[in-house]
């Protein structure tokens, strides 16, 4: 198993705060990796370090066996979709694709046209006049037509409606399956990735909490969903599930809004995912009951 993206002791500091710290993770080839964590966990920082947009403050990151910064052989094989979907607003859709064609020797116009058709994007419309969702679609087309071997997507679904989101995930997976490329998708909502990913990297407070095969993770961690029989009181802490395999315990949070215990509010992002190892140090705060 060769690692397409390998980080060793990787850290990034902005002035005095560490956005990412001591991150060691190896992403195997051909996997669809979900990079999950709350806002500010360091997902974007990790992805930007992997593209060479940022330089590490500590450790190193290797992509296809080489540090990514400014290397044509790495640049040509990595497709990156930044979180804010940057595009030139004065360009038309067609000009944006021409931009991609001129800057990438491996450009595949048929792929670009195919995506444009699927998304029904008008070629002569200015990028500035497109909706947020359409811009995401154009940015996806622009990234995929480069035919990358490693696809780094930073919260690609954020401004899409559920229907398009589902569609995009499906189309993306078709491409991935057909071409056998490696994908890293970041999100703060695991639910939107759960159906497509087969490898999970969980980031929180700038550190990797967990990185493994999804199936192995699910087998080794007990995910409790549901409502406690006895509602938590001021004195009870959130419960700890049993960990028979000896893996770190997983603090689990009831999934749907309806099952949220009384007096306790969870952000929707976290309600669908359990908070693993860090809970051993920092269990979720307990609600104060009136």
């Amino acid at each position: 198993m060769t690692a397409v993206l390998e980080a060793t002791g990787l850290g990034k500091r902005y002035r005095r705060t560490w956005a990412l710290r001591d991150c060691s993770v190896a992403i195997p080839e051909g996997r669809v990796v979900a990079l999950v964590g709350p806002n500010g966990a360091g997902k974007t920082t990790l992805l930007q370090l992997a593209t060479g947009l940022l330089a590490p403050s500590a450790g190193e990151v290797r992509v296809f066996g080489a540090p990514p910064a400014n290397r044509p052989q790495v640049l040509a094989r990595v497709g990156f979709l930044a979180q804010d979907k940057p595009l030139y607003h004065g360009f038309t859709v067609a000009e944006m694709l021409r931009y991609g064609a001129r800057l990438n020797p491996g450009w595949d116009q048929a792929v670009a046209d195919g995506w444009l058709e699927r998304f029904d994007l008008p070629a002569d419309r200015r990028v500035g006049q497109l909706s947020g969702g359409q811009r995401t679609q154009l940015a996806v087309a622009l990234t995929l037509a480069r035919r990358p071997r490693l696809l780094l997507l930073d919260e690609p679904m954020a401004d899409l409606d559920p229907l398009v989101r589902h569609d995009l995930a499906r189309l993306l997976m078709e491409t991935v399956a057909a071409e056998g490329l490696t994908v890293v998708v970041s999100s703060h909502v695991l639910a939107e990735l759960a159906s497509i990913c087969d490898y999970l990297v969980l980031l929180a407070v700038g550190r990797v909490q967990l990185a493994d095969d999804t199936e192995a993770l699910l087998a080794g961690h007990k995910l409790l969903v549901g409502r406690r029989r006895d509602p938590p009181t001021a004195r009870t802490r959130w419960w700890r599930p049993a960990t028979p395999s000896g893996r770190p315990p997983c603090w689990c949070v009831p999934s749907a809004r309806s099952t949220t215990p009384p007096g306790r509010s969870m952000t929707s992002a976290w309600s669908s995912w359990c908070w693993p190892t860090c809970a051993t140090r920092r269990p979720p705060p307990c609600p104060a009951r009136p």
Binding site: G52, L75, A76, P86, G100, L103, P105
Partner: protein
């Protein structure tokens, strides 16, 4: 890369073309007016015949004197404005809109991308600035023909204005790379250009070769080099012993005099005038030396912008 660089340069080029069209039409219309007025008033014929045209020149200067100053300012600011317009947003807009993340994750390296963008912007700028400088030279030429100004000979075509535009471009580009916001980059770029250009202009005058020549002649008499289109840089007084006199010293020597009375007083004391000047024949040499100085400093600023952009955050 060429198409990409051109497509990204297009908005600034259109803006520059509009700026040039407005400034150019003002210059062309006023230039033609000057020519026709000089012809109708008989000034052109008088100058051509070589006679003394003092009265006609004064009537003409009364009409057009007031606009010489603003146009002179426009002439100095137009290349600076063009350079800042091209350089300020070049990198700052990419950073501001986050599109540098798009550009730098394509298959071309950052260095090639930057080289392409800079080369295209500088190339278009040189053409636009040359047109602007040509227009201004033509405009000043209308007055030179009438022996009212000596501009064109000294500005020597487009060389110095084009070098000034490139200097402004380099400084504004560096400001954009450092500040990463369009409006602050434009403001800081403009300010820095004015300061640097003024400093370089002074430096060029005082130490850049060829050094000025001097001529001494008795005070109160016309300079032996009158009418030779010299660029007089400074003039002072010198006494019999060859010591330089300050303005206050001259005042003490001949208190309360002016005009011809002052001239007589100075002559009676044996005071000499001393002029530092550059002869008109050196205009090309001066323009070349000054342009070279501007371009060297511009290159330094481009190196700064290059370094800041290629260094990963």
């Amino acid at each position: 890369m060429i198409w990409v660089a051109w497509r990204q340069q297009r908005p600034a080029t259109v803006a520059a073309a509009i700026l040039l069209a407005v400034a150019g039409s003002v210059l062309l219309v006023s230039g033609w007016q000057v020519t026709s007025l000089a012809r109708d008033s008989g000034l052109a014929a008088c100058v051509a015949s070589g006679a003394d045209c003092q009265v006609l020149v004064e009537a003409f200067a009364n009409r057009y004197g007031p606009i010489l100053e603003p146009v002179s300012l426009l002439g100095a600011l137009l290349p600076v404005a063009l350079g800042v317009l091209f350089g300020g947003p070049l990198l700052a807009r990419e950073f501001e809109q986050g599109t540098h993340r798009l550009a730098w994750t394509q298959s071309v390296t950052r260095g090639r991308w930057l080289a392409g963008r800079l080369a295209m912007a500088a190339g278009v700028l040189v053409v636009v600035a040359a047109v602007a400088a040509g227009l201004l030279t033509w405009w000043w030429g209308r007055f030179d023909q009438l022996h009212i100004s000596r501009r064109a000979a000294l500005e020597r075509g487009s060389l110095v204005p084009v070098a000034t535009a490139v200097l402004a471009f380099a400084i504004a580009t560096a400001a954009g790379a450092l500040l990463r916001r369009v409006v602050p980059a434009l403001a800081a770029g403009l300010l820095a250009v004015l300061v640097v250009a003024a400093a370089l202009s002074l430096a060029a005058q005082s130490w850049l070769p060829p050094q000025p020549l001097t001529v001494t002649y008795p005070a109160g008499q016309p300079s032996p080099r009158a009418g030779l289109d010299d660029q007089v840089l400074s003039s002072g007084y010198r006494d019999r012993a060859g010591r330089d006199l300050s303005a206050q010293a001259v005042d003490r020597l001949c208190p309360g005099t002016a005009g011809q009375a002052l001239d007589r007083c100075l002559a009676a004391n044996g005071i000499q005038r001393i002029d530092r000047y550059q002869p008109a024949s050196r205009a090309w040499q001066l323009a070349l030396a000054r342009s070279a100085l501007y371009l060297v400093v511009a290159a330094l600023f481009l190196v700064l912008a290059w370094w800041r952009t290629l260094r990963p955050d």
